[in-house]
Amino acid sequence: MIVTGGSRGLGLVLVQRLADAGYRAVAIARKETNPLLSAIDDAAGAIEFVPFDLGDIAGIPALVQRLRKSFGPIHGLVNNAAVQFHGALALMPSAQIEQLVRLNTLSPIVLTKYVVRAMMADGGGRIVNVASIIGTTGYSGLAAYGATKASMIGFTRSLAREVGPMGVTVNAVAPGFMATDMTDALGDDQRRQIERRSALRRLPTIEDVAETVLFLLGDAATSITGTVVTVDAGNTA
């Protein structure tokens, strides 16, 4: 199981849950973190770390080749790594817009291209794309980010149709705001406001979202493809 952005936040929890569930999980990120290193120690070989900058689009084919050589057939891919820049679009540097699209849209599409054909050659596989409720609902200051997250949903639906006949399922998970490094910038007031507006009066936890991804990767989800599972404590209900 490959998890991009597996060094922190949602990706890290997911890698740990995968290892607990008996899978071998490979975390990809630019640099390892102390929590990831201790997870690797605890997991006795079930978690591996492969350093890679996913913004390096040209390097992706060689990355996939290396992953397959080192770890064998790839059963699942979770496109989780992403960046978020918050701010008025009218003032956002174009370089930041470009980086958002490169890392959140272009990179997962190209990575999936190389992984999915190997999955098809091996007879099947699972792909989960981490989108966001911001892909379908609005949030001031996240227009460019929202565009990239919506792109993952469109990607999920069409690819599911394309590779379904070859035994590969493709789904998306759309989390609401969770407390991670990515949402550090949210002030307490904003967080409380989001909680107040959610049916369950709280934020979803990273663990809630990780469990949903795990479900989509597992045997119980064989008949689920091309769909988006929202995990937002009822924020968009």
Partner: protein, 86 residues
């Protein structure tokens, strides 16, 4: 120019076409050099699987190396791409 090495490359490619056709229950047209790939009886997903398998077996993928490669039209074009990449 056809060397022994080239011939075996062609053979391996043709083997892979046959294997993928078998696995996916497709009827393969006779594999002549000027056969258009789209008339081979395999669809584009099967061709993608062939490219992935050949990458495993030969260690090259001429389609990711080439900047702007159009997918080759005939079997001979396809084989030539691999010969050039080898």
């Amino acid at each position: 120019m056809t060397t022994a090495h080239d011939t075996s490359l062609r053979t391996r490619i043709v083997e892979e076409f046959a294997r993928v056709a078998r696995e996916h229950g497709k009827t393969l047209a006779p594999l002549t050099d000027d056969l258009a790939l789209l008339d081979s009886g395999l669809d584009s997903l099967c061709l993608a699987i062939i490219v992935a398998r050949l990458e495993d077996r030969l260690g090259v993928d001429p389609f990711s190396a080439a900047d702007d490669a159009d997918f080759p039209v005939t079997l001979a074009d396809f084989v030539r791409l691999y010969e050039d990449a080898a």
